[in-house]
Symmetry: C2
C-alpha cells in the first residue's frame, strides 16, 4: 500500500533533475544517451508510471475519448451495434493508455446536453458522433465547443470532421436482389426514422433496387425498436394486397416482425419472407433463421478511434475511412413466394 513513485523519486534515484526525467520519458532530443538509459533504468526499477492526473493538468488534455448515448432504449438497449463498436474503440484506446468515457443522456435532455457536459467538464479530447442525422445540429455544436469529433457516416452538409463510413447500400441492394431473384414482386420495407443518415441510405438503396427491376416499392416507417417493427408489420399485413416479402432496416424490427407475422397465422418463409439488417446474435437462432446483412461494428470502432486520435494528436488533414460494405447472410426466413 506504499504510495506510488513520482517523477521526483525517479529523478533522485537517477541523480538527475525532474526535467531530465520528463525529457527522457517523452523521448525528447537533447539528452545524452547515457543519461537517458540511466533514467529509464531508474524508472523501471521503481515501476514508475506518469500520473495522468498531473499530465492532464499540465498539458491540458484528458487522454480520454467520449461517447454519448441516449438512455432511450429505442436507440440503445438491445442494439447490437454499440457493444461491438465500443469493443473496437477500446482495442485502440487501451494500447494508448486512453480511457473511454460514457455519457448517457437521460429522458428529458437532448443529446446535445451530453456533449455539452463532456466539454464543460473537460473529460475528453474528442467524441464519436454516432447515429448521424441529416443536417445534424451536433456538428455545429461541437465546432462551437471546440471539441474534435469523428462522424460515423458521412454528413450531408459541410463538416469539418473526418468521417468513418460504411456504405449500407450494397448490403441493402444484395438483400433486395436476393428477394427479387426468389421471385418476389410485392416487396415492402420497414424503414428506420428518416432523420438518420443510415436509415435513408437503406431506404434509397431499397427503392432504387426495386426500381431497377421495374417493381414498386412499399414502405412503412419504423423507429428501429421491436415495438415499432410490430406496428409497421401489422400495417403492411393489413393491406388489401399485402407484400410477400419484407425488408427491415434492422434486426430488432425484423425479429419482432417475424413474431408478428407468425402471431397473425402466417408461416415464414412460405407465406412471407423476412429479412433484417445487422446480423445480431439472435438472428441466427430464431426460427426460421433470419436472412440479414452483416457489418463489422468492431472494425468500425477501431477505425473511428484511430481516426479520432489522429485528429486529437493534431494531424492536419485526417482522411475519411471507408469500411468494406456489409455482406448478405441468407438464412431460412426468405424463400420463393407461394404461388
Amino acid at each position: 500500500m506504499s504510495k506510488r513513485p513520482t517523477i521526483a523519486d525517479v529523478a533522485r534515484r537517477a541523480g538527475v533533475s525532474k526535467g531530465s526525467v520528463s525529457f527522457a520519458l517523452n523521448g525528447r532530443p537533447g539528452l545524452a544517451q547515457a543519461t537517458v538509459d540511466k533514467i529509464l533504468a531508474a524508472a523501471d526499477e521503481l515501476g514508475w508510471r506518469p500520473s495522468n492526473r498531473a499530465r492532464s493538468l499540465s498539458v491540458s488534455k484528458a487522454f480520454a475519448l467520449g461517447l454519448v448515448i441516449t438512455r432511450d432504449p429505442a436507440v440503445l438497449s438491445s442494439d447490437p451495434f454499440f457493444p461491438a463498436f465500443i469493443a473496437g474503440v477500446e482495442s485502440v484506446l487501451s494500447t494508448r493508455g486512453q480511457a473511454l468515457v460514457l455519457q448517457v443522456v437521460m429522458a428529458g435532455e437532448t443529446e446535445q446536453d451530453g456533449y455539452r457536459r463532456l466539454a464543460r467538464d473537460g473529460r475528453v479530447d474528442g467524441v464519436f458522433l454516432s447515429d448521424l442525422r441529416h443536417d445534424d445540429p451536433r456538428i455545429d455544436l461541437l465546432v462551437e465547443l471546440g471539441l474534435p469529433a469523428v462522424t460515423l457516416n458521412r454528413p450531408d452538409g459541410e463538416s469539418p470532421f473526418p468521417a468513418v463510413t460504411l456504405d449500407d447500400r450494397p448490403g441493402t441492394r444484395a438483400v433486395v436482389e436476393h428477394l427479387i431473384e426468389l421471385g418476389h414482386t410485392r416487396i415492402a420495407q420497414v424503414a428506420g426514422p428518416p432523420a438518420f443518415v443510415h436509415a435513408t441510405a437503406r431506404t434509397t438503396a431499397f427503392v432504387e433496387t426495386l426500381a431497377a427491376a421495374g417493381l414498386e416499392p412499399l414502405t412503412e416507417t419504423g423507429d428501429f425498436t421491436a415495438a415499432g417493427g410490430i406496428e409497421a408489420t401489422r400495417r403492411l399485413l393489413a393491406l388489401p394486397k399485402p407484400p410477400t416479402a419484407i425488408f427491415y432496416a434492422n434486426d430488432r424490427m425484423a425479429i419482432a416482425g417475424l413474431g408478428a407475422a407468425q402471431a397473425s397465422g402466417l408461416t415464414v418463409p412460405d407465406d412471407l419472407s423476412i429479412a433484417g439488417f445487422d446480423d445480431s446474435e439472435l438472428a441466427e437462432y430464431v426460427h426460421p433463421g433470419l436472412t440479414t446483412v452483416r457489418a463489422d461494428p468492431f472494425a468500425f470502432g477501431e477505425a473511428a478511434a484511430l481516426t479520432l486520435n489522429q485528429l486529437v494528436d493534431g494531424a492536419a488533414d485526417v482522411p475519411d475511412t471507408e469500411l468494406p460494405p456489409a455482406q448478405l447472410v441468407v438464412r431460412g426466413s426468405t424463400a420463393s413466394p407461394a404461388v
Copy 2:
C-alpha cells in the same frame, strides 16, 4: 473561443484571494457571509466552473467510476442488463459531475487486467463488480489495489465491500410454480454457468421449488449465449422422455431455445412450454411472447452508484442494498401440457 476562467480570475474580480474562492465554493465555514456572496456572484458572472483536472490532481481523486466489461459477446453483446444498468448508474453520476469510464477487456486478457489498468491509470475512484463469481478472485485483487468497489450480488466469502443485491430466487420460484400450476411434471432448466453467483441462485431456487412439489429437476447447463441455449435445448429434447417445459436462466437462451424447439417441429406452448429470465425487449415480441421474469436493471444501476459513492466519499459503514425481487411476466410461451 476565449479561455475558460480560472479561480484566479474569480478571485481578482471578487477582490479576494484564491483560497477564499476555494473556501466559498466548497461551502467551508470561516468566511463572512458577505464575502461568500460576493465570491459566488463573481463566479457566476464569469461562468466559472472548477477544472476537474486541477481538482483531480490536488485532491487525488478522479471524480469517475469504472465499469469493466469483457469483450466476449457472450457476456456483453445482447445482454439487456448492461445498457439499462449503465443508464441507472449515469443517472446518479451526472448529477454529481462524475463520469463513467468503461474498460473493455479484450480476448486474451483476463478481466482482472481491466481492473489493474483502471487502478494503475488512476482513472476511477471505485468500480462496479458485476457478474459476481463464487470465490471471486477480483475481490482480493481490488483489496490489493486499494480500489473501492461495490459488488452486484452478495459474494459467498467474506467481502470488505458493500453489496447491492437482487434476490433471483422469488422470481425463479414464481416461474417454476407457474409451470407446476399449469400441470407440468417434467420441467427442465437450462442453467447458466455455475461459476456465477446469480446462475446458481437461479438453479438452487429451481431445484428447491420442484422438490417442494415432489418433482425431479432436470438440468442442462448453458453459457447465457444464444448458441449455448440451442445446444442445451437440443440435448433436452433428445432425451427419451423430454421435458414438457423448460426454464432458461436468461432470455437470450430462452429465445434461442424457442427457435430450436420450433425448428425441430414442436409447437410452443402446445408441445413445450418455455420461460426465460430478464424480460428483454424482444421477449414481448417473439412468437409466442416469452413468459419471463422482470427485474429492474436501471434501479440496480442507481443503487449501485449511490452505494459506491458513499464508499468513495469515505463513509465508514456503507450498508448493503436489497432491491425488490423480479416479477413474473406471463406470456404465450407457457401453457398446460398436452395430454
